[in-house]
Amino acid sequence: MATQVPQVVSSRVQTAVTVKPIWQRIWQMRLAYAFLIPAFIFLILFEYWPAFLAMKEAFYDWDGFRINNFIGLANFRELWNDAVFRKSLVNILIIFLFYLTIPFLMPIIIAEAIFNLASERAQKFWRVFLLVPAIVPSLVTLLLWQYLYNPVDGFLNTLLVAWGQQPQLWLSSPDSALWAYMLIGFPWASGTSMLIYFAGLQNIPQDVIDASRLDGAGTWTRIRKIDLPLLMGQIRLFAILTVIETFQRYVSVLILTDGGPANATIVPGLHLFHKAFSGNRLGYASAIGLVMFAFILALTLINQVLLKNPDTESRTQAVV
């Protein structure tokens, strides 16, 4: 990708590139830089400079205002002994491992189920039907689950009581909060990943499927031997996205439980948020961010190695 050369370069420009000294070439191409300047003003102010600050201030005692003292590795040493941070890492690991199970498999299962329907109209119906809930603003969905879990008026406790069971505290009890949080979105059937898997299935040439049938392969064999291998690209993609998204996840926790009760649902991103905006310890928060960055990077690389796809590998390297 990154090696791709723009297709049109006027011949005049090309001669200039090979002959003239660099400052002259830059001057000659000043129009190109003029086209870039507006975009780069935004990027420098709100991407490059903050990224630099985040990495630098992790080694500082910083309140974002007056205090800004270099303290070496003190933030990281404190982080090493930070019980809340440790708890948040355990929680995020549990959440991550859980998300790799049913929530990860469900879109594949749904895509297969729709793909195996005989009627094209039914296929289209189910795809749209299961997509619409994903268009409801994510915050509304989250708040609806907050209602389902409401200990007093919530739907789940209404059901439990109607069946003669004990009502539960759900998100409000340290024992159940993490599980309740992870079960949000059940049965994880709605969403765009299902569409992408479905598109992957549709890209399988029909004659491959027909040939497998002629060879006497049943549906189950076809799924294992043809569909799943050909979906590896998408599976790998969503595995990496699960890593990246899960480890950064904190906004939904902030809204539902704010990490409580008793840190039962604390996650690293929320710990960072608390340190920065309640504790005014921006340097320490930056250190948390840097450690999270390292984690995400490492896991992404591990993921790439584990789920290697020979077809796309060379192209992937070109972008990195």
């Binding site: 190109a32 990027l43 600050l53 059937a189």
Partner: protein, 294 residues
């Protein structure tokens, strides 16, 4: 990092739907339909409850919190509209501003990358792409400080300007590829006729790029419309609240009046659903491409 191009083409395939009309056709249709119906039913339970409860008074909810009760109280929606209208307008202003500026500045940059060969173009482009790897959570704190230093905290600019910066990265990347694929003869012919680069960009490239601009706009719209955390730290006055911010206050402010709360949730969901109804193809393309960028 993943090959973002590969991801975008996956998204396009997902959006374009059943052109090849491939199918497993396994003869398991009936049990599969049943399975999908069960899953679909469970998926819709929260949303069905939202709709049913939104027509209830407090008394009706206390008696029957699950099934519909009559009469339906449409006046809940008059109340909801009062609550939601201002935040919807605020969010629309922010989204339109941010999306417009993002598309404008990124398409200019993408034009430079696609149509000029200038010293440093590789380095600058790689620099932009590598920003995709930096997790947003790392940037939250320093971005907040920078926004404060530029005196943008507490107003809409503090939302729009950082949103533009964050949205540009993916947009430049996608548009550069798209612009580079536009046939060169078209541009050359215009050059021969004496058109300036600005004219070519404005009169030829941009009009040809409407589909990709629409897709990128929708991606940005979905992201910004749902964003909670940045308005949460930037916006201070209640009259500036975006939709996400106001949504979170309802359950606290209206206590156990679930009818009103749910009516607010329904009303707040409508704008995006309307956009989806009007441009579903574009929307699905944006949704799938947006889902697979970082």
């Amino acid at each position: 990092m993943l090959d973002a191009q590969e991801r975008l083409s996956t998204a396009n395939a997902a959006a374009s739907g059943p052109h090849s009309a491939g199918s497993g056709r396994s003869g398991w249709s009936l049990p599969l339909q049943f399975f999908l119906a069960v899953i679909g039913f469970i998926t819709y339970v929260p949303f069905a409850l939202m709709l049913v409860i939104s027509f209830k008074t407090r008394a009706q909810f206390a008696v029957q919190p699950i099934w519909p009760t009559f009469p339906l109280h449409f006046e809940n929606y008059r109340f909801a509209l009062e609550q939601v209208l201002r935040p919807v307008l605020n969010t629309t202003v922010v989204c339109v501003g941010a999306i417009g500026i993002t598309l404008f500045v990124s398409s200019m940059a993408a034009y430079a990358f696609a149509r000029f060969q200038f010293p440093g173009s590789r380095i600058l482009f790689t620099g932009i792409i590598s920003l995709l790897m930096i997790p947003q959570v790392l940037l939250l704190v320093p971005r907040y400080v920078v926004t404060g230093q530029l005196h943008m905290l507490g107003n809409q600019l503090g939302l729009i300007v950082p949103y533009v910066a964050a949205g540009e990265i993916f947009a430049i990347f996608v548009m550069r590829t798209f612009f580079a694929a536009i046939p060169g003869e078209l541009v050359e012919a215009a050059r021969v006729d004496g058109a300036s680069h600005w004219m070519i960009y404005w009169r030829i490239i941009l009009p040809l790029s409407k589909p990709i601009l629409a897709t990128l706009g929708i991606i940005q719209l979905i992201n910004l419309w749902n964003d909670f955390i940045w308005p949460f730290v930037v916006i201070t006055k209640k009259e500036d609240y975006t939709l996400a911010l106001i949504l979170r206050t309802f359950a606290g402010d209206f206590g156990t009046q679930w009818g009103l709360i749910m009516a607010c949730y329904v009303t707040a969901s409508l704008p995006l659903l309307i956009v989806f109804a009007l441009a579903s193809q574009q929307f699905i393309r944006g949704l799938t491409a947006g889902a697979i960028k970082f």
